[in-house]
């Protein structure tokens, strides 16, 4: 078989993308504190150590709580914005929608510093999980809008009108018809927001209170070389979890498209 230049390029590119991630599970199961080849032996000891680390458990609980709250709030806000963008008519619509999508491209470090100054210096608030949640909602909402925008754009406006026509009120028409039809988008948005929040580091590092989130805790561990394999083990679990969540999200996005009778164009998986 002849391998073309483009083929070689594609293979190199894939190696570049995934080699670091492949290293995670390799060293997570390696029986040595030093991260280096050759491998010395197989162990599940690092995972066992994870199970006994209570400080880490606290960080994971924090992160899960923050991710869950951020996902729910961001998706709620995103649903409202996407619906307004798709069906509403109001002045400066394009400008407003563009403006709330902006955090998508703003550097997180800028958002983090700005929020720290505002929350602590100006508003005099104490840093806590809720300050992190607020900031994560800020960065997750644009993603939520982007996902749900598709769901609402693809929705035939006659659907809701038909429900109204058949005797439902605006609210019950939304609940009985619109909501089930955009539900795949909502689930997809929840999962992606959850994933973004879960592994977000910069903002959490600035805004976290006395209880660190998981990424912040991991960063703290890096100062101790002996704990590196534990981080590898944790990383392995996180990567697996992320892939599972994103796959579920993509499944729901596609199912939504199939229901609406749209041919799939793109998507991220």
């Amino acid at each position: 078989m002849r391998i073309s230049v483009l083929g070689i390029y594609a293979i190199l590119y894939l190696i570049f993308l995934y080699a670091p991630i492949v290293l995670l599970p390799i060293f997570a199961f390696n029986d040595a504190t030093i991260i280096a080849f050759p491998l010395t032996g197989f162990t599940t000891g690092w995972f066992a150590e994870l199970a006994t680390n209570t400080a880490l458990h606290g960080a994971v609980r924090n992160s899960l709580f923050i991710a869950l709250m951020s996902a729910v709030i961001a998706t709620g806000l995103g649903t409202m914005a996407a619906r307004a963008g798709a069906t509403g008519e109001f002045p400066f619509k394009r400008g407003i929608i563009g403006f709330i999508m902006l955090p998508l491209v703003l550097p997180e470090i800028i958002i983090a510093v700005a929020l720290l100054v505002i929350l602590v210096q100006i508003l005099g608030m104490n840093l806590s999980n809720w300050t992190v949640i607020g900031a994560h909602v800020l960065i997750c909402t644009p993603f939520s809008i982007a996902i749900l925008n598709g769901a609402f754009q693809n929705l035939d406006p006659s659907m809701e009108e038909a429900a109204l026509d058949l005797g439902e009120t605006r609210l019950s028409a939304f609940r009985l018809v619109t909501l089930p039809l955009v539900m795949p988008g909502i689930i997809s948005s929840l999962l992606i927001s959850f994933t973004i929040s879960l592994d977000e580091f910069i903002i959490a590092f600035f805004l976290t209170g006395s209880n660190p989130t998981m990424p912040v805790y991991i960063w703290g561990l890096l100062r101790f070389p002996a704990s590196l394999p534990v981080i590898m083990a944790l990383g392995t679990i996180l990567v697996t979890l992320s892939i599972i969540l994103l796959t579920i999200a993509e499944y729901f996005r596609r199912r939504g498209n199939a229901r609406a009778g749209i041919k799939d164009t793109g998507g991220f998986l």
């Binding site: 006659s158 109204l164 058949l166």
Partner: protein
């Protein structure tokens, strides 16, 4: 028959756009009424106004004696079949049809029976358990009909319901809709841009142009006696001849170059006749080619065949008559023994005073 829907001076603005420019209309109980017009004429806006999806900018809309001002769509005695059918894809066929019964004080069994009967009525008996998103276009339309009719509305609104179907299916559904309307006796209001569809199905038709009603009449009157050039152009084919009205009275005298002087009845000027230059309309099928050996006691004019279009059952001729600038189109049935004439053949055109229509300028 009594009027079910009363529109008085109904206007609708979208910002600066004047979508409905003062509609006065009465729609009778139990009639099949059509709103016909080119796209953008306001027919769909008018339908949506009756349904309650658009508010009236000024004027009044009464349904069954009640002013509909401030009454939302869900509280009006109307139901609608949408152009896209808007079948809920996440529900089964039966759940779609029974959707409007949710708030009715009926037992589960009663509702199931009503759904079954409604599906039976549209020829989809036994389809209740099927998934709605797996239906064909024609089946979707039937489900949409059943879903709207199950609530026994006073008025059924149909927004271009046949436009998404292929020709054969469309013709079949036209007949079924007429039968259905007679069976249930509900007032149907159909929006369509298809003149043939409107003629086939309606008791009365309102032809709309640019937010106004151009003519309101039964199909035969509309076809035979259009009141203006735009109505005549929109419905069927018509030849337009420049002419002159020379005398008004019980009978109207018109002078048409090439055809001479004719006396016609007042009903042949439905838009009103005025003395002076006028536009005269003649339908192609009211003219005839005089084939060899055919005698006639009607009026004739010498002509030359300019163009021949053969349709199988019909042949359309464009013929030139001395004194008339544009060729006249004539449609002829291809009866046994009738030849198809060649271009350039000299022939004679048979015509009749009764086929002339004076169009309002």
């Amino acid at each position: 028959m009594t009027a079910l829907i009363h529109l008085t001076g109904v206007q609708k603005y979208y910002g600066d756009y004047h979508a409905l420019r003062g509609i006065d209309l009465e729609i009778r109980k139990g009639e099949f009424f059509s709103l016909l017009g080119p796209s953008g004429c306001g027919k769909t806006t008018l339908l949506r106004t009756i349904a309650g999806f658009e508010t009236v900018s000024s004027g009044t809309l009464m349904i069954d004696g009640k002013d509909m001002k401030g009454v939302p769509a869900n509280l009006r005695p109307t139901n609608m079949v949408f152009q896209s059918y808007a079948i809920f894809p996440h529900l089964s066929v039966g759940e779609n049809v029974g959707f409007g019964l949710r708030k009715y004080p009926m037992t589960k069994d009663e509702k199931a029976r009503a759904v079954g009967e409604a599906l039976e009525m549209v020829g989809l008996g036994g389809y209740g358990a099927r998934a709605a998103h797996a239906l064909s276009g024609g089946q979707r339309q039937r489900v949409a009909l059943a879903r709207a009719l199950i609530l026994k509305p006073k008025v059924l609104l149909l927004d271009e319901p046949l436009s998404a179907l292929d020709k054969k299916m469309r013709e079949q559904m036209q007949v079924e809709l007429i039968k259905l309307q007679r069976q249930v006796g509900i007032t149907f209001i159909l929006v369509t841009h298809d003149q043939e569809e409107a003629l086939v199905m309606s008791d009365r038709i309102a032809v709309m142009f640019e937010g106004e009603i151009g003519q309101l009449a039964d199909p035969e009157t509309l076809y035979r006696r259009p009141n203006s050039r735009r109505v005549a152009e929109f419905i069927g084919k018509m030849n337009f001849l420049p002419g002159e009205v020379t005398k008004l009275g019980e009978r109207i005298t018109v002078e048409v170059p090439g055809l001479g002087t004719s006396e016609i009845g007042k009903e042949q000027a439905p838009g009103g006749a005025k003395l002076g230059r006028s536009l005269i309309g003649v339908r192609p099928e009211t003219l005839a080619i005089q084939f060899e050996g055919e005698a006639t006691d009607r009026r004739v004019a010498d002509a030359t065949v300019d163009e021949v279009v053969y349709y199988g059952d019909m042949t359309y001729y464009d013929v030139r008559i001395a004194g008339i600038e544009k060729p006249l189109t004539i449609s002829m049935k291809n009866l046994i023994g009738r030849p198809v004439l060649d271009v350039g053949t000299r022939t004679r055109v048979i015509w009749d005073e009764r086929s002339l229509v004076v169009l309002a300028r």
